[in-house]
């Protein structure tokens, strides 16, 4: 019996000879990750258990990104605590605004070439699943699990069943990776892939770029999946070679691999999507909205859509246009590098000319931290990943999710529209 991609990757990280879904394994970890919210609890757990040593100072990444630049005294204390831990344990990959290394973890780590194909990555952040785009096994856990990994370099995992998802067909204009994942989550529901692995196949014309694959893998948690991944191809290779000089091993699924289910999506039938509150699975075509949904705020950024690619898509729509007087537009380049590049290419200027404001790299508003909190009754259209009740502020506010293209067009219109609409 053959193996799926996830089974292959997991097996390679154990001493087992075989592997099968449902089985518990003890796997070795290539990279462990935590942030300013999850690391403090993990550090506390290590202290309570008198564990002084970490398994490998060069296989741990600590990123201060959620409430940075520190939004209040308590956040500052948490960051201080993590920074002190990083210094004491000589953590090699420590990133914070200090020293010019600001960035959102799930974009920063691939950008720095810290995740490679074949890796097993465990992160104390639910969107750690993002790195599956690099043909790595990557999943999110809580702080105690992470403390265990920091101590042992290992994790217990239950081997998931795999669902194969094939995207094929010619995509319409303004349909991006974000639209495809919102469409998929809408189709299978918020627990449609609970505990399972999603193995994606890109047979789309034109093919999905690496950034779009990151976006798709980023959101697999929103249908409960343990991980999501794309097979290695020339698109993966180009990205990896650009960001790292390290050697890596590539795994492929077997031809006779066993899948629990196969989902085929003809992307030709997918139009630009928007997920209505309060669940990412409430996705509908923007064209099918029955009434005008007026918005107060637009956020373009986050670990889902904060790549330079995403900013360019939004900028192409905003160039020469002004945002609606009732809308505030907040643009968040995901890393310092992306910010610099966007400046150089004149993209930041497009946003500021349109009336947008630029935030430093941060998770900020996505989780209702800072840099764009909503009041009672306010509505935001965001390129982020969650639209739960109160996610971005007041429990009486609303969050809608879309691609950067729909977000940019809507910022101009003042209500949620398809990019085609404002071009008319």
């Amino acid at each position: 019996m053959g193996y799926t991609l996830t089974e292959k990757l997991l097996l390679a990280h154990t001493k087992n000879k075989t592997i099968s879904p449902g089985e518990f394994i003890y796997a070795s970890v290539d990279l462990a990750l935590a942030n300013d919210i999850t690391a403090p609890i993990a550090i506390k757990v290590l202290k309570e258990n008198n564990i002084d040593k970490v398994f490998a100072a060069d296989k741990i990444a600590l990123v201060l990104d959620h409430f940075t630049p520190n939004k209040d005294i308590q956040s500052a204390e948490q960051c201080k605590l993590v920074a002190a831990f990083a210094k004491e344990k000589k953590i090699v990959h420590f990133f914070s605004p200090t020293g010019g290394n600001a960035g959102i973890e799930h974009i920063l780590l691939p950008e720095r070439g810290l995740v490679l194909p074949g890796y097993l990555v465990i992160g104390a952040d639910s969107h750690t699943c993002t790195y599956g785009a690099l043909t790595a096994f990557s999943t999110g856990v809580g702080s105690t699990d992470l403390a265990f990994v920091l101590a042992e370099g290992k994790i217990w995992l239950r081997v998931p069943k795999t669902i194969k998802v094939i995207f094929h067909g010619k995509r319409k204009k303004y349909v991006f990776g974000k639209d495809l994942i919102l469409y998929l989550i809408g189709k299978i529901g918020v627990d449609g892939a609970n505990y399972k692995s999603l193995e994606f196949y890109d047979k789309v014309t034109p093919p999905l770029c690496m950034e779009e694959r990151f976006t798709i893998c980023n959101m697999v948690i929103e249908c409960g999946a343990k991980n999501g991944l794309f097979p290695y191809d020339e698109i993966t290779e180009r990205f990896v070679k650009l960001h790292s000089k390290k050697k890596y091993k590539v795994y492929h699924s077997d031809k006779n691999a066993v899948y629990e289910d196969v989902i085929e999506i003809d992307v030709g039938g997918v139009s630009p999507q928007v997920a209505l509150p309060p669940l990412p699975s409430n996705s509908v075509s923007v064209d099918e909205l029955k009434e005008k949904i007026y918005i107060d705020q637009v956020v373009i950024g986050s670990c889902t859509n904060g790549w330079l690619y995403d900013l360019k898509i939004a900028a192409r729509i905003l160039v020469g246009r002004k945002i609606h007087p009732n809308v505030r537009l907040i643009v968040i380049p995901a890393t310092q590098e992306i910010y610099k590049q966007a400046l150089k290419e004149g993209i930041i200027e497009v946003f500021t000319n349109a009336g947008g404001i630029i935030s430093p790299p941060t998770c900020g508003p996505c989780l209702g931290g800072h840099m764009g909190i909503l009041a009672d009754g306010e509505r935001c259209l965001a390129t982020t990943n969650r639209n739960f009740v109160g996610r971005m502020g007041s429990t009486k506010s609303e969050v809608y999710l879309s691609s950067p293209a729909v977000a940019a067009a809507s910022a101009v219109a003042g209500y949620i529209v398809s990019p085609e609409e404002i071009r008319k």
Partner: protein
């Protein structure tokens, strides 16, 4: 922890997410006492006042979906909840609860028969839940052996200690 008895507190909803259990604005702290005071604030800000120590929370499908924040489990434990009965649990929440010693019970449809205020008795060893108020009895599918060992150790870190100790003894 073999038998747990407590009053049921039911929230009839699926997909209760971790933003509802503990909104992100409280993630700038990790103290259980503070987090407990804000438990379920995204859903019902009076929740911590409504529950009593030892209450058993009864919920629907996919409880704890969303963010990996362990603060959600910390908040639930800190406001006194002794166990959670759900139709299903989101993956990371399930791990966090098992890892930190919050007992979970997966109901196979029968949690619908429970009302707030019912006195429940969970026998983890025998895999039985009794609704003493309604005189009903349900069998629960035991967790896999490995998970049971973590639960018996009262969490992942103690499990690690036990395993290491056993290895040390074996090596002697």
């Amino acid at each position: 922890m073999m038998i747990l008895r407590g009053r049921a507190y039911k929230i009839e909803r699926d997909n209760i997410n971790t933003d509802e259990i503990i909104p992100a604005r409280y993630l700038n702290v990790s103290e259980p006492e503070i987090l407990g005071k804000h438990c379920m604030e995204g859903l019902d800000s009076d929740f911590p006042k409504k529950v009593k120590k030892g209450d058993i929370l009864v919920v629907g499908k996919n409880f704890g979906c969303g963010s990996s924040r362990e603060h959600a489990v910390v908040a639930i434990k800190s406001c006194g909840i002794g166990a959670v009965i759900g139709e299903s649990f989101a993956r990371i929440f399930f791990r966090n609860a098992i890892n930190t010693g919050l007992p979970l019970v997966v109901s196979e449809g029968w949690s619908k028969e429970i009302s707030t205020g019912d006195i429940l008795e969970i026998n983890f060893e025998r895999g039985i839940v009794k609704n003493l108020s309604k005189k009903k009895k349900y069998n629960i599918t035991p967790f896999p052996k490995f998970i049971q060992e973590i639960i018996k150790s009262n969490g992942l870190m103690r499990y690690l200690k036990n395993v290491k100790r056993a290895k040390d003894i074996a090596a002697r």
